[in-house]
């Protein structure tokens, strides 16, 4: 075998190792679902109306077509919650008699080529008797509104309430009540790769391989098999390279069920590649919420009580496995954010409408509630005439563990310290001077701070608290060293761009004394990796990292024991480093490669004290840990046009021990970019008939590199007892804090006009309309 010799004496953890994932991706060698050849190509015929009853479906003679009538044996997608007045509603794989959103699949056409399938799909005639659709959640809540699903009275699919004891008494003691009516418009996560699936039937085994662009291969296998009624052993799910997911790919796509069913029926291979229009109208949406929030403050600016009412538009169906409770319930539990507030009164509802179903999207509700809560804090600071950061200083939690009004336990963090770090780094004082000078010249600069917590790495207990029939959580790692001396870690997580293969190898390398380049991490294939939940909710590094560490500790113990035997030393005198076991204080050593060979081929020499082979399993199921950060946005608002220019962005964050700084920074950069898009640009727009007006990337506007400013990052590493690797998650934080910081900065810039922008995205039209209604616009000429 190759000698493991490149060790440096220090740890692998903490180094910005280049990502092992990248060489293939940047040289065009990545392998994506849509790269696979197939015999049949599927095109979905989608509803052009938002609500109605399906009449006849007519296809040209000889067309390969599937409709609901062919799928009577399939169960609907019906995720379940046992709490929060959740009403189970079912989603048929293809619309069955009724359509409930524009873009819902009504039929699947299959043909020998993609183009041919699209040509035939165009010829399918679907008669739909239109009914008037419900687009906005507030309309769906109105008395007498039609029902999207008969089971869900009032169109409310889930309703959670929390009222802390004695709330009213606390409320009465308030010095002032500050109020925000927040509105977050609908988003699409827009992964670079839209959805794609490929199902291939193997006639010799009767098995189907479903290759698809998913964040949770095992759960996809379970769900598809439940719906079709087939043994899981007959289905292999493979997630090859996946071009981003952001949550959109953690929910089950009904299209994948259809593909597996059709592959079995045709005893062949079938494939579907979603186009961008389908993705924008019919994959999943998110963040369509109304949040009314009131805060009761004492005269020193201390927040005493919070009262919230959240309405989340969850669209026409409930997503699997989280259910559409995911947004409203996340908002309910996390609305108080990182602030110390003991009295809390909140109602949060998920409301069904005739729109594309909601699914989790990076941050899940927290980008929305953070934006509204931070507006509240900024408005309170204005009321008390103090710096927004000073108001936060008076309210941020700083003793740990802290149990929140909603029962969440915050482990050690640095809520105040990250904010102070950010204030110093951005130089708030000199910014205020600059801002003043600029205003005198008719230019409007603004600064916005957002302080927030990010709940990460949580296991089954946290999910079970929601009453999910399927409660995600644990992760398992199978770690082995094969006779060649190479290490393989098979994981249940399913990274898709996060660089987890690199980070996990760093964790394992330190424990077993073998360089990362000899450690391969295998994921995304249900035939090769242990049952796991996939990658979402800022969990994979904490959970798979923890499970990897546990497995590596077992491997280490075994190697040490073997080395002790072969070197005739006590196990506690052995260290593993740079590919060898050394007896401390001597020059005696043996290569790990030799030990591994012995475990397979010379096991008799250990007199039965060693199990043959070199494979161990680690499972980790922690309670969760909170990361935290302070985001700062600097903007300039053009008051003539309402346009916002991002000048600079700064993040001071704490995600515990950083395994790979470069990868961690990359996660923050990407999240911040999405957050800026969220705050300024992206909006899915329905007209009142339920037609989507933003169905191309010329209308739905993700930011480009030219809209993203320089992002300066600072780190604090608070080591938590809640994660055995000491690492916290940070996948979502960028997207959580950035919208709030940007909106806050806009409002700061516009403070001379007395306007309040409480809606995202803050488009130039909305900003300019607010400025106009302020009546304070100057009418003057100037040379820029």
């Amino acid at each position: 075998m190759t000698a493991h010799t490149k060790g440096s004496g220090t740890t692998w953890v903490g180094r910005s190792l280049r990502r092992v994932e990248d060489p293939a991706l940047v040289t065009g060698q990545g392998r994506f679902t849509a790269d696979l050849p197939a015999v049949h190509w599927v095109r979905f015929v989608r509803s052009s109306v938002a609500a109605g009853t399906i009449g006849s479906i007519t296809a040209p003679d000889g067309a390969g077509i599937v409709t609901a009538a062919d799928l009577k044996s399939l169960k609907p997608i019906r995720p379940m919650l046992s709490k929060f007045n959740y009403v189970a509603v079912g989603q048929p794989i293809l619309a069955d008699g009724v359509v409930r959103f524009t873009g819902e699949a009504i039929a699947a056409v299959y043909a020998r080529g993609k183009d041919e399938a699209e040509d035939i799909a165009e010829l399918i005639e679907v008669e739909i008797a239109e009914t008037s659709p419900l687009i906005d959640a507030i309309d769906a809540l109105a008395d007498g509104a039609p029902l999207v699903h008969a089971e869900a009275t009032g169109n409310v699919i889930v309703e959670g309430r929390i009222v802390t004891p004695g709330f009213d008494e606390v409320w009465k003691t308030a010095h002032t009540i500050i109020r925000v009516d927040g509105r977050s418009r609908r988003q699409n996560a827009t992964p670079m790769e839209a959805r794609a699936g490929h199902a291939a039937f193997d006639a010799s085994t009767g098995r189907v391989t479903l290759t698809c662009t998913t964040q949770m291969p095992h759960l996809t296998r379970t769900a598809v098999c439940d719906i079709i009624g087939m043994p899981e052993s007959d289905l292999r799910v493979v997630a090859p390279d996946v071009g981003g997911g952001f949550g959109q790919k953690m929910s089950l796509a009904p299209e994948y069920v259809l593909l597996v069913w059709l592959a079995r029926k045709l005893r062949s291979s079938v494939a579907w590649t979603e186009d961008r229009r389908e993705n924008l109208i019919a994959s999943f949406h998110s963040r369509d919420q109304h949040v009314e929030l009131e805060g009761a403050f004492d005269k020193g600016g201390k927040l005493l009580a919070l009262r919230g009412d959240i309405v989340a538009n969850v669209g026409a169906y409930s997503c699997f496995p989280t259910t559409s409770g995911v947004e409203p319930l996340m908002a309910l539990a996390e609305l108080p954010g990182p602030y110390d507030v003991r009295a809390y009164h909140c109602r949060s509802r998920g409301v069904l409408t005739h729109t594309c179903p909601m699914a989790p999207y990076r941050g899940v509700s927290r980008p929305v509630i953070t934006f509204v809560l931070e507006r509240l804090m900024d408005k309170a600071a204005a009321f008390f005439a103090i710096e927004p950061t000073e108001l936060r200083r008076r309210n941020l939690i700083d003793t740990f563990p802290y149990t929140s009004a909603t029962g969440l336990v915050f482990d050690d963090g640095s809520y105040k310290a990250t904010m102070e770090m950010a204030i110093a780094a951005i130089d708030l004082r000199s910014f205020r001077k600059q801002q003043q000078t600029a205003r005198e010249n008719g230019r409007y600069l603004g600064i916005g701070f957002a302080t927030f917590s990010e709940r990460t790495g949580y296991g089954t207990p946290a999910f079970a608290a929601r009453g999910m029939a399927i409660s995600p959580g644990f992760e398992t790692v199978h770690l082995s060293i094969d006779p060649s001396g190479f290490v393989e870690a098979r994981i249940g997580s399913s990274p898709h761009g996060q660089g987890l293969r690199t980070s996990l190898a760093q964790i394992i390398a330190d424990e077993i004394g073998i360089d990362p380049e000899f450690i391969k991490v295998v994921h995304g294939d249900t035939d090769r990796s242990p049952y796991g939940w996939g990658t979402f909710a800022s969990r994979s590094l904490v959970l798979s990292g923890g499970a990897s560490l546990i497995a590596a500790q077992k491997i280490r113990a075994k190697l040490v024991k073997m080395a002790g035997h072969m070197l005739e030393a006590a196990p506690e005198d052995i260290t593993l480093q740079a590919g060898s076991a050394h007896v401390i204080g001597t020059d005696r050593s043996i290569t790990i490669a030799t030990l591994v060979r012995a475990a397979y081929h010379q096991v008799h020499i250990f007199n039965g004290e060693i199990e043959p082979g070199m494979t161990e399993t680690g499972t980790y199921d922690p309670s969760g840990t909170f990361s935290n950060a302070c985001h700062v946005a600097l903007v300039e608002v053009d008051i003539d046009t309402g346009r916002v220019e991002m000048k600079k962005f700064l993040v001071a964050e704490d995600a515990g021990l950083i395994i790979n700084p470069m990868i961690a920074d990359g996660q923050v950069h990407g999240g911040v970019a999405q957050g800026i898009g969220n705050a300024l640009l992206e909006e899915i727009i329905y007209d009142e008939t339920g037609n989507i007006l933003s169905s191309t990337l010329a209308d739905f506007l993700p930011p480009t590199s030219r809209e993203i400013p320089e992002i300066e990052l600072h780190h604090i590493e608070t080591l938590t007892g809640n994660s055995i690797t000491k690492a916290k998650g940070l996948g979502e934080g960028g997207a959580i804090g950035a919208p709030a910081a940007v909106i806050s900065a806009i409002n700061d810039a516009l403070s001379p006009f007395g306007v309040s922008i409480d809606e995202m995205p803050a488009t130039p039209q909305r900003i300019r309309a607010a400025l106009r209604s302020s009546g304070k616009l100057p009418s003057h000429g100037r040379f820029a």
Binding site: K114, D115, E118, D119, E122, D275, R276, R277, D638, D640, T641, G642, R643, L681, I685, D687, L693, T696, A698, L701, P703, T704, R706, E707, T763, P764, Q765, R768, A769, R772, S779, H780, G781, R782, F783, A784
Partner: protein, 285 residues
Amino acid sequence: MKPAPFTRHVPKTIDEVVSALAEFAPQDGRILAGGQSLVPIMAFRMARPTHLIDINEVEGLDRIAIDGDYLSIGARARHGAFHKPVIDGVLGKLLAFVVSHIAHYPIRMRGTFCGSLAHADPSSEWCLVAATLGAQLVVKSVRGERIVAVEDFLEGIMSTSLAEDEFLAEARLPLLPADTQFGFYEFSRRAGDFAMAAALVTYRLVDGVIVDAHVGIGGAEDRPRRIAEAEAVLNGQAPSPDLFVAAGEAAADAVEPLEDILTTAEYRCDLVRAVTRRALERSLP
């Protein structure tokens, strides 16, 4: 997102182009130039031509040259050709300044100047340039050749006076006197997006006052055009902040603004006011 079936024809000469058009236009045949507008709408099947007459292999159509007192721009001249000034003098600089606002680099390497005019998007920068400067358009068909003034060419949102069998062979832009001042400003949501309003101004300063002002507005109405009311405000006056504000007001008052679900008439006028003033501010030496 696959186009409906079509047949592609690849003529090598202008004569072949016009005879192919004459033959196939009645069967829904169209010119394919850079494809940067046509191909996307074909992918959405919003356009489904059955024949495409691809002009990308026609000799000589990429010609950009001075002919007398105007600059000729052939039907295959790409946006990217204007990244550096194509000629000495003000016009070359003006075109180089404007071109960087059109879409993104890869699109500019394919899309054509004449294709933009034929496509007649109200936000097209080249349509604005043509309207402001007073372009002449050379139109050919098997029936012969005619020269059309830009104001008779652009008719409305994506509509021109080209007959279905006619080919826009060349655009001619008048050369600008050496003392011409110009300023261009456009407003869009993101860099490279279609303008929600844009202004191009040119004038000369004689004895400190503005003469021969051209104020063109694009993206705000169904087609770019000159705004006489704003030009009247400027002509005969010395540049000043107040004058530019007044010109912006005049332009905003004069336009018949396009509206959409996001953009009210009032907001569009706000943009016209701002872009006009800023284009003027940029025009100062």
